[in-house]
């Protein structure tokens, strides 16, 4: 009885949800000594940023893996996070920091996201048009793209004057403790928008994981749906990068945790599971490191290390198969 219950993805996702709620409660209440009102507000906005980032990274990674039929490729590995950093620098370069300072930040981020969606679709079509067949070559190309975008945005940053550089440097390094709470509202709106777009295509997701030919056979307008989902991925990558900066292996880690925990490839389970796994890693990790261990070790470092080890393990397993 217990065993059959345990096999149900619904039960497993429910347990994940309970763990995530416990992490959130811990994050809000542990080591509160003085002013509750202040702490709740301060931690609350940080918590919200972490929840949004976990959702954006979890959803975008699982979706990207579905449309690329891989458990190894992620938007971050293919250089999409750094592409947003580059877009950020480009927008500053073109419009100038002084000009942009007058704009509401939501307008600036909105413009960046729009540009990001366009460039991401272009990059996606370039990489995944079917000309690159080898997975290893694909990973190599992604890493190269990432390096190129990083160098270009460095170059751009050098051209900017110091005050503009200040605006752009916030999104250039991954950090889960110094999150950008200023852009919470615009991030939440963008994430909701991406989620609504996703609802339109939710029925196609499982069919897409069967492969292109079978999806077409079953009547899915494959090219259009895949580009639509890629646009959603681009929006979510932007949200995550705005909030916590570019990550490399975090998405890979939580997506694979989601597959492993749910034991299925059904998106109705893997999508929420990836978000919950992300929340447990980010919020729970923060509680563990900052409050319980009182460590100064950055969480981003720990998570990227774990994700990097997983990447190597998956790569080696893939080679052997």
């Amino acid at each position: 009885m217990v065993l059959t219950l345990w096999r149900q993805p619904a039960v497993r996702v429910l347990l994940l949800a309970i763990a995530a709620v416990l992490c959130v409660l811990g994050f809000m209440t542990i080591n509160v000594q003085t002013d509750w009102a202040f702490i709740l507000q301060h931690r609350g906005s940080r918590l919200l940023a972490l929840l949004l980032a976990a959702s954006a990274i979890g959803l975008s990674t699982v979706l990207f893996q579905t449309i690329t039929h891989s458990r190894l490729l992620t938007p971050a590995l293919m250089g999409f996070d750094v592409l947003f950093v580059l877009v950020n620098t480009l927008v500053l370069l073109i419009f100038g920091g002084a000009e942009l300072a007058g704009w509401p930040s939501s307008l600036r981020v909105g413009l960046q996201m729009l540009l990001m969606v366009g460039l991401a679709l272009l990059l996606f079509r370039l990489l995944f048009s079917g000309s690159v067949r080898s997975l290893h070559l694909m990973i190599l190309l992604g890493m190269l793209a990432g390096m190129l975008f990083r160098e270009l945005s460095e170059l751009g940053a050098r051209v900017l004057d110091p005050s503009e550089f200040g605006i752009s440097s916030g999104v250039r390094q991954a950090s889960f403790s110094r999150v950008n709470t200023e852009l919470l509202a615009v991030s939440a709106v963008a994430l909701t928008l991406g989620g609504l777009l996703l609802l339109r295509w939710r029925r196609y997701l499982d069919v897409l994981s069967l492969g292109r030919d079978i999806a077409v056979n079953l009547g899915v307008a494959h090219g259009r749906v895949v580009l639509g989902i890629m646009a959603v991925v681009a929006i979510m990558v932007s949200v995550a990068t705005v909030l916590v900066g570019p990550t490399l292996f975090f998405g890979l880690l939580i997506a694979n945790l989601a597959y492993w925990i749910t034991g299925t490839q059904r998106h109705r389970w893997t999508l929420p599971a990836s978000v919950l796994a992300g929340i447990i890693c980010l919020v729970g990790g923060q509680v563990l490191l900052e409050q319980l261990l009182a460590s100064t070790l950055p969480l981003a470092l720990v998570i990227e290390l774990a994700g990097g080890l997983l990447f190597i393990a998956l790569l080696l397993r893939g080679v052997r198969q």
Partner: protein, 254 residues
């Protein structure tokens, strides 16, 4: 009826399918045979809109396959290719149920469930029902995918090398089943086959291709003949009549 009009496909400098105009009659069992590289699979995948063509058009029951909405076509014509995803964490039953997607859009009705059960029965998959497909043998997996297209319940069923990876017993079962689908359910079955003896014993109509063009077409008695096969495959093949079936012998000559 399936009609191709001047269909061509080019990969780089090579013309894989060269200006093919042919018609496949509605109903019955049609096999496409021919040596490697004849363009059989490419033609089949252009007919089923999986591969875009460089020239020409394909019309299925009056519908142009490149212009008809995908989900409309998916209720009339189904296609199964050789290499399908093998690493999916998905139970056999869930995979078969995807065949109903063009009809119900993912939410299964009682009618859908009946089709799923019938297809599983048809392919003797009931004992594997809850097994994830990545744990199946090649032959079992192939049957699960065929069950999925059967469950799609289309007038036209196109299969590219359905006998690959399966042993003799299941190969015979598979051909019997496809034959029954044509006889009892009135489906039009179109199959690319490598084994000319299976084509000889089960087909109503055979299309023989070589170097991108159909070179012979007709009933098995017209195609399964020494001189036709010798010309088609450029090798010595002798046809013998055994128990009323035309069997090709080519394994050891001289």
């Amino acid at each position: 009826m399936i009609e191709t009009r001047g269909v061509s496909k080019r990969y780089g400098d090579t013309l894989v399918v060269d200006d093919v105009s042919l018609s496949i009659p509605k109903g019955g069992f049609t096999s496409i045979i021919g040596p490697n590289g004849a363009g059989k699979s490419t033609l089949l995948s252009m007919i089923s809109r999986l591969t875009p063509m460089n020239a020409g058009s394909v019309v299925v029951d009056g519908m142009d396959v490149t212009r008809t909405p995908g989900n409309v076509l998916a209720r009339r014509l189904s296609i199964l290719r050789q290499d399908n995803q093998t690493s999916l964490r998905l139970s056999v039953r869930d995979l078969v149920a995807f065949g109903r997607f063009p009809h119900s859009g993912g939410r299964l009705t009682a009618e859908d469930l009946r089709h799923v059960d019938e297809a599983m029965e048809y392919l003797q998959l009931h004992e594997y029902r809850d097994r994830p497909i990545d744990e199946l043998s090649g032959g079992q997996r192939q049957r699960a995918y065929v069950a999925m297209v059967m469950c799609q319940d289309t007038d036209y069923v196109l299969l590219d090398e359905p006998l690959n990876n399966i042993d003799m017993r299941f190969a015979v079962d598979m051909m019997q089943l496809l034959r029954r689908a044509a006889d009892e359910k009135g489906k039009t079955v179109v199959v690319v086959l490598h084994d000319i003896n299976f084509a000889s014993c089960y087909s109503d109509h055979i299309i023989a291709m070589r170097r991108g063009r159909p070179v012979y077409q007709g009933a098995p008695e017209q195609i399964i003949r020494d001189e036709v096969l010798r010309d088609l495959y450029e090798m010595d093949i002798r046809v013998h009549e055994v128990n009323g079936q035309r069997i090709c012998v080519y394994f050891r000559m001289g």
